[in-house]
Assembly symmetry: C2
Homo-oligomer: 503 residues x 2
């Protein structure tokens, strides 16, 4: 459902999901394994949920027999489900391809019921959601044990957990991978994880070294760059495959790598992973130019330098478009309009120009006409932006929201301070509001603080009847806070607006 409202790219994710599942059928796979983030939004739209169910019912149900067994206790593997067994063993469902998935950070469980988007698919019998833990301090991972012929696979999974928390659990030795008692070494150990793989901070990622060395293959979700060819970790002696996202989200170099899915064959302890390129993924070309590196073409002092730079940029984009056209030749499944990004380093006295007219030139050829050009001023700045853009989009937004909330209260006059809520609490609630569309997050926070304040006042035996407390607290503070929140939301709206119309 990424960008589902975009007039050009709106169906990209559905088309590619269809292609992936069709590949599963054509290759007669035993099962499909997903690394999380089947959905982009925590609360997917009705359209997205409907499209997803449609594809799964179309490709995962049917008469093709399933020839592998499950040896583990399904009630343990799927203990959080209302139907705690693998879908293909449900006599009411004729499943031909079971799908196993952990949840990602985009579609993780929220709310009092701890439900996530893929739990709806699980309840409908379309997916097997595994790798879910109840504890936030300790993980004991019981693998799903699969057997086909003489090959046995122990499938481990951890659904997305905040990186710092999982990092701490590993450090404190609180992550245990349970192993089958019988013939421990005879299993092919497959592990699915959905965390930061690249280091975003001291403890804001999971080092491969943390993972048990008895593993054979780690499927690493979350990261968007397709690095599907298994890479051997020489310390731990296992392989890591990183399928990457199925569609391009951020316009960063990592996403320009050709998208693939992997067809994994396992026999005994041996494996082979065949790369299958995806045909329906929109092409994406990215290129960097540094204006100061072309003193022969233009200098900042030149008259009309901006027109020259513009023509130069246009030429570069046209080159990319020609290359896209060339590569797309004969492939009818690839969308016509590619994604194009030209990053222009204009350090050294050059000026950025208004991109609107430039965009207009490519509106019929490019899928992202408004975002083709990206001006950056310094090498350093570029690297920073690179680092931010290579993160999943939601994290960038998170940073922004937190910053904005902080900024708002720093700038605010003294009388615009919250009566009940702390800025930190507010920041978190707004973040949740933005990330997860948890409409109740703010309200719940206020209620919680309200009760806390009431208890506090009562304990202090304030000279007031309960009703007075109620009236006072509710009438004044509650409304004041609501007012400030509405102002804050307005501030965020306009700030976002500024961001959106800018680039």
């Amino acid at each position: 459902g990424y960008l589902e409202k975009d007039a050009i790219r709106g169906n990209d994710t559905f088309v590619t999901f269809d292609e992936i599942m069709k590949q599963a059928v054509q290759n007669e796979v035993d099962f499909v394994l997903l690394g999380g983030d089947l959905f982009h939004d925590n609360k997917p739209s009705r359209k997205t949920m409907h499209c997803c169910m449609e594809v799964m019912r179309k490709y995962c149900m049917g008469d093709r027999p399933i020839v592998f067994e499950i040896l583990s206790d399904q009630a343990v593997n799927f203990s959080h489900s209302k139907f705690p067994w693998v879908n293909y063993l449900d006599s009411n469902l004729n499943i031909s391809i079971p799908v196993f998935s952990v949840h990602g950070n985009h579609d993780d469980p929220t709310g009092a019921d701890g439900l996530c988007a893929i739990d709806l698919l699980s309840c409908a019998g379309l997916i097997n959601h595994f790798g879910r833990s109840r504890s936030v301090e300790k993980l004991e991972i019981s693998p799903v044990l699969l057997k086909k012929g003489n090959t046995r696979i122990a499938l481990y999974g951890i659904g997305s957990i905040p990186d710092e928390r999982l990092y701490r659990m590993f450090i404190n030795n609180q992550v245990t991978m349970l192993r089958p008692r019988e013939d421990e070494d005879g299993w092919f150990n497959l592990f699915v994880i959905h965390q930061n793989r690249s280091k975003h901070g001291a403890t804001n990622y999971i080092p491969e070294q943390f993972l048990d060395d008895f593993l054979d293959l780690v499927v690493w979700g979350h990261e968007h760059e397709c690095k599907i060819a298994p890479v051997r970790n020489e310390q731990q002696l296992f392989y890591v495959t990183q399928p990457g996202s199925s569609v391009i989200t951020s316009l960063s170099p990592g996403e320009a790598v050709k998208k693939h899915i992997g067809l994994l064959r396992v026999k005994g302890k041996k494996m082979n992973l065949q790369k299958i390129p995806l045909q329906t993924v929109r092409q994406f070309f990215i290129q960097d130019v540094t204006l100061s590196e072309h003193p022969d073409l233009f200098s900042p002092e030149q008259p009309n330098v901006m027109l020259k730079v513009m023509a130069f940029c246009q030429e570069k984009v046209e080159e990319m478009l020609e290359e896209a056209e060339r590569q797309r030749l004969g492939n009818s499944l690839t969308p016509e309009k590619p994604l194009i990004r030209l990053r222009v380093d204009y350090s050294g006295g050059f000026e950025a120009f208004n991109t609107m007219r430039f965009s207009q030139k490519f509106v019929d050829q490019v899928a992202n006409p408004k975002e083709i050009l990206h001006f950056i001023r310094h090498r350093e700045a570029k690297d920073n932006i690179k680092a931010i853009l290579s993160r999943p989009t939601s994290e960038v937004l998170q940073l922004r929201v937190e910053d904005l909330v902080k900024e708002y209260f720093q700038k605010a006059e003294k009388n615009v301070q919250l009566s009940l809520l702390t800025e930190q609490g507010m920041g978190k609630a707004v973040q949740e509001f933005v990330d997860k569309e948890e409409k109740d997050a703010i309200e719940e926070l206020i209620k919680y603080q309200l009760e806390k304040t009431q208890r506090f006042l009562r304990e202090r035996r304030v000279e007031a009847t309960e009703e007075k407390i109620d009236e006072e607290v509710k009438g004044r503070a509650f409304k004041e806070d609501l007012f400030i929140i509405s102002k804050l939301l307005h501030y965020l709206q306009t700030s976002y607006l500024g961001v959106d119309s800018g680039s």
Copy 2:
């Protein structure tokens, strides 16, 4: 999912839906027929959707054979579905009880894709959504033709349509019920409709007389009062059964009628409808008192009259509680705390009192402690309120939102006027926002108006480049409107807050 967040009543709808489907299994029904509004919200929460799917998968799937046939063209009956056939004939689904449903006004199709909440259930293979039309001017209803033994049922349905529109279609002779060619009179004709049955305005309901007289039984959804015993329409010579809502929503007399489902038996052209009382529905008692009718007990001039009135009201509530207790005896399925409403007519110089302390007394015995008392001043007023309360809740809210938006702009100073939007457009967008949680409604409206304004300016050949128009329009008007909207939303929030804490 009605009131799903209420600490006491939150699970009521799920529990009763479970009871209903359990009854279907126990009575070995051929199918379940729903009259719309399976969901209270157009966009049900994840929890509600999950609960609903769970119940349906639990009770509607299994090995019990289905012994009736479908004779009509399913591709026509279910043409809007991605899987246009009845679920029990899908070889991948082991359905034991097919559920047929039209959509109601609460869960009607919205958005560009025209999907509604039950379409998700339909896509998951759990429900058969019928009675859906593409045209807004003309209806041609192809019945689902069912056959069991020698009995044949023609099942007609119309999913919810705005009453005025459907009224107009009937008046203009644009509603056609197609009939099977063969042995036209041998069919039992069953029709499901989800519209106002009681007159809310000249054309704001559907008179029974509009319906074809070849019908045998009309199942009338939408109305909340349980009038399940079929009533013969002596003009049209068909029967009408009105099951009513499964749980109590508004605290009005209609909802105090005991809730039932109907077990319909049809043989040839004969039918029998057995009333089955629902055991899990929370009890609801409502009583009216008119203070001026008790001159022996109190008069407005009396000192401490308020305390006396309060004691009198307390006595009445206690009587109702005792009656509830008596009726609940031995029925372990009925929730412990009943719903209680005492409507107090305080005309004739009496004063209403603060209900908070009164509520406090019943907080452990009543499911709606904050809403027990309802003060009204005049007979006339009471009747008005009655009329409003007997409408489904969403309509009351609609009225309120529209009024509030209007009020807001009437009160607003001159400089707080929208630059791009009309008040009417704004009112509609906010209403949609509140009713359907169409988060994009407001944004889409603004975009639309923005484009309109741009076109307008261009056509007038205003002396400005396009860029300037963009800047001007976006920069000023857009932001101004957003600001006003944020203020408006704040106003609505606090107004609602006032309403909520008031009664």
